[in-house]
Amino acid sequence: MTGNLSQVFRALGLFGLKKFGSASAAPVQHSYRSARKFTDKHEWISVENSIGTVGISNFAQEALGDVVYCSLPEIGTKLSKHDEFGALESVKAASELYSPLSGEVTEINDALADNPGLVNKSCYQDGWLIKMTVENPAELDELMNEDAYEKYIKSIED
């Protein structure tokens, strides 16, 4: 019975229910999801269905001032963690963006072309910058969670 149940659950996409499934089932490629994580360069990434959405933090958008232009990579660009992937321009300043993880760019936020101010107004929602695949989920563990990031900001602000 348990073997059949695990097959049913897998077919239904309910991968997390191991207590009903057979312990000897082959390793399952489950949908990877994480809460928002932060880099020390003030980018954030949150992962859903194995796709990471990347933006800059509120601390960063305040430090930049009004964003007037977003220079973003092309879809398909392969990035390694720490690679520079674009720049935001504000108050005559071009500020570089660094990839939080390794992966491939799957989408860029087209709304920013006409409305770059979204990065300031809604840095965690509508002002997202790019989406990318997560080549190596272990890299996420190297990033800060929200609490750690808040502490980090306090430490650099004094």
């Binding site: 220079s71 720049a87 504000s90 108050v91 005559k92 300043a93 071009a94 570089e96």
Partner: protein, 228 residues
């Protein structure tokens, strides 16, 4: 805030691409100094020996415009900074502060304001009390409707590069062939034009450095070595 001295490299009259190369080495040195906690900041000063038009993330001239500008005898250089197209050439003081904003706990927009303050203090020292800074998109230092000092910076890993360009005795007719900084209807001016006498880059170096020390609260040490 004690940061260690800022190394000043006075290049004198040099082609603009040379100054960019020196700047790159300074940026590398600043990055390398950081994990050691060592002072690694620089200020590169030069006077472009030949006329060039440069642009930032935006403002690249199309092919036809580029050909026209070249035909006038100017070079064209892409510079990864904020700000649109502008001109650099003889008679202009070009200053590239390579500073560590993380060590200075200075947000980028406050750094740009500090550059404006630097330009304002210098103008006032030279007798131009009417100089003012305006809010974005009019970043820079203005005399009335004419810009006397352009600002455009780059920031990577909290290390700054590029900076400002102050017209001392620049031939302002070079600006007629572009829309400087993408701002229609605005003019450009120079210290010489405003003061009614010939003011060279050499004349302004000392007051510039005094103003820099004040605004960035630092000591300066003169060097020929980018430190890398």
């Amino acid at each position: 805030m004690p940061q260690g001295p800022v190394r000043v490299l006075r290049l004198g009259l040099r082609p603009y691409p040379d100054a960019l190369r020196v700047q790159e080495r300074c940026v590398a040195a600043a990055r390398a100094a950081r994990p050691r906690g060592a002072p690694g900041e620089s200020l590169v000063l030069s006077e472009p020996a030949q006329p060039v038009y440069t642009w930032g993330l935006r403002g690249a001239p199309g092919a036809a415009a580029a050909a026209r500008l070249r035909a006038r005898g100017a070079g064209l250089v892409a510079a990864r900074r904020g700000g649109h197209v502008t001109f650099h050439g003889p008679g202009q003081l070009v200053a590239f502060p390579v500073l560590d904003l993380r060590r200075r706990r200075l947000p980028l927009r406050r750094y740009v304001q500090a550059l404006e303050e630097l330009g304002l203090r210098l103008c006032r020292r030279l007798g131009l009390g009417a100089a003012r800074a305006l809010p974005p998109p009019f970043t820079g230092v203005w005399m009335g409707d004419s810009k006397i000092c352009a600002i455009g910076v780059h920031c990577g890993n909290h290390i700054t590069s590029h900076g400002l360009a102050l017209n001392c005795c620049t031939d302002l007719s070079w600006f007629e062939h572009i829309v400087p900084c993408g701002l229609e209807g605005k003019g450009v001016t120079s210290l010489s034009q405003e003061l009614g006498r010939h003011v060279t880059v050499e004349h302004v170096l000392e007051p510039f450095l005094d103003s820099f020390r004040e605004v960035f609260d630092c000591t300066l040490v003169f060097s020929e070595d980018p430190g890398d």
